[in-house]
Symmetry: C2
Subunit: 341 residues, 2 copies
């Protein structure tokens, strides 16, 4: 986690120094002393690039500094305030998804301060679906529905979860799994890599595991547009959500293929490539092409690289994308989800 | 103080109800339960019109709700968050000037919760110049300088205050009064009704007591522009700050004079009027006019009404404002300032 600390006084700097030592065991930490007029600049620079900001000082100062940059629960960094005597450690933004509650608890332990946790699910010891989703690597599609789930649990009502995958461990209190009729109706939470955005009810929380890997083959100097429309068309035809993609893969000869690199950047996905030798080492049934083999010495690029990257199984074999000069295959992994954090 | 409370859950509503009872002894209190999507509307409506907002819930929810409306330390309402178990009472905005720290302490006492005060001067038991200025009715002209004063005191350095008025009580630790050479140089804080905005150093905190009363006489249907330029010109010629004005006064025949009412509204000043009988009852030397007496049965309107309103002494006698149809006089009161709150 990239953590930046800012302090305003000598006392504050002592705390910043102590925290920097303890937190840097498992984080990338820097700390700074705020000069005259420098707070807004520092905040603007660090808010969008950091995972967490720690202000050693008054909550009001921190709040006024971050207010202009606040966007959304799923993107904003964790913000924790520690008073300059180190008496309190207070998560003020992104308590759950951003991890501010956890960070504040760790700081409180390091400094011997009181953690001031105010999120209702935590203080009532109730299952916090957003913290849980984050810990399980599930993308939250509609964060505005988190509060509907939390509200039911806080009132002692039942919450019904539908999952397309097994979930290990004991169910949290008042949470039920796949217990309704076999459709999506009536569920409060649905966990799936399918794209349900158009058919869902407005108050169903949708969680998407990143479990699909896209294998790509293509002509040299293929355009970004050809890559993008090919991949999106296939996802749409299978009704898979774009946020279910976890990586792109190809053969090493494509490592600098601009259209793929641009796609990877736009959708914030890793792009890994493998040598012909590695791809050939895979055993199994692949859609063979003598032409491809004559060019890159592998009988199939997209299927093999998808499997090589994911270590999963093919759910869509090679598609030539209507002759766009691109081939795409999709592989899937079983997600590893459990009720424990 | 106008206080509005919002809660999100059953637990929260119980706390809101309890708080509403205890706080309404000395405040105007209302409370509400937040419906779906109603938080931003509620916040927008209450932020600008209330002295204090209390959120019973998570800090993050309160912070995201108020962020778009935050303006400045001297205007924003106090905002206090109480978690929904009532464990903590946390001032998050306007701790000093807005009174959030004091409110949070009161709430903590009412609920038996822990007050989470994070402003450095409070937790270090150091003189807080902004809280003090507020308690003494002093307008803070340049709130960005508050932190320079607090910072010196937190470091154990001396702070030099120049005041044009006597200040009762014992000096706070490390605070010195009128101890430098007889100019404004070197002072960290200057308390005066003089307009020093152009000659001050950038890092001198300027505090202005509201002690000047403007008495006004005028022709019927006088324009707002004539009223405004007359008053501002006289203030400028005396080098008095507009924020030192505490009220406008005239004879009752002018109670509905539009130009004066518009001026009162623009500068947020009370406008009070007195009968001819009341004005005549004043003893003392006034600039007499037979013409005025023939019209309104008082020999002078502006001087008499200024004294009637302020019960102070004249510091600028009747000025005819270059024949603009307006007469203006200024009266002044001694401010009652003490170091104790």
């Amino acid at each position: 986690m990239k953590v930046s600390i800012i302090a305003f006084t000598d006392n504050g700097m002592e705390i910043a120094y102590k925290l920097s030592n303890s937190l840097s065991e498992s984080n990338d930490v820097d700390f700074t002393r705020c000069g005259k007029g420098a707070l807004s600049t520092w905040t603007e620079e660090h808010f969008s690039t950091n995972d967490a900001l720690i202000f050693i000082g008054a909550i009001g100062i921190a709040l006024r500094a971050i207010a202009p940059y606040i966007k959304t629960k799923t993107k904003d960094p964790a913000v924790v305030v520690v008073d300059e005597l180190g008496q309190f450690s207070i998560p003020i933004l992104s308590g759950h998804i951003g991890g501010a509650n956890e960070l504040a608890l760790q700081i409180a332990e390091d400094l011997g301060s009181i953690p001031v946790i105010t999120t209702a699910t935590d203080i009532n010891n109730v299952f916090a679906v957003d913290t849980w989703a984050k810990s399980q690597g599930l993308n939250i599609l509609n964060p505005e529905c988190i509060k509907l789930v939390s509200s039911k649990l806080l009132k002692g009502e039942s919450v019904h979860v539908k999952s397309d995958y097994p979930i290990q461990g004991n169910l949290p209190k008042n949470v039920y799994l796949n217990d309704l009729e076999d459709s999506n109706a009536g569920y409060d939470v649905i966990i799936t890599h399918k794209d349900l955005e158009n058919e869902r009810k407005n108050d169903t929380l949708l969680l998407v595991p990143q479990i699909i890997t896209v294998g790509i083959g293509c002509r040299k100097d293929i355009s970004f547009e050809a890559i993008e429309s090919s991949i999106l068309n296939i996802l749409e035809s299978e009704n898979y959500h774009i946020l279910a993609i976890n990586a792109l893969a190809s053969i090493d000869k494509k490592a600098n293929e601009k259209g793929i690199l641009e796609f990877a950047k736009k959708y914030d996905l890793p792009f890994n490539t493998y040598s012909a030798e590695e791809l050939n080492s895979l055993e199994g049934e692949f859609t063979k092409s003598e032409f491809v083999k004559s060019v890159v010495e592998v009988d199939n690029v997209c299927e093999r690289s998808a499997i090589m990257e994911s270590n999963g199984k093919l759910i869509r074999r090679k598609d030539t994308c209507d002759g766009a000069g691109v081939t795409v295959a999709l592989a899937i992994n079983d997600p590893n989800i459990s009720w424990g954090k």
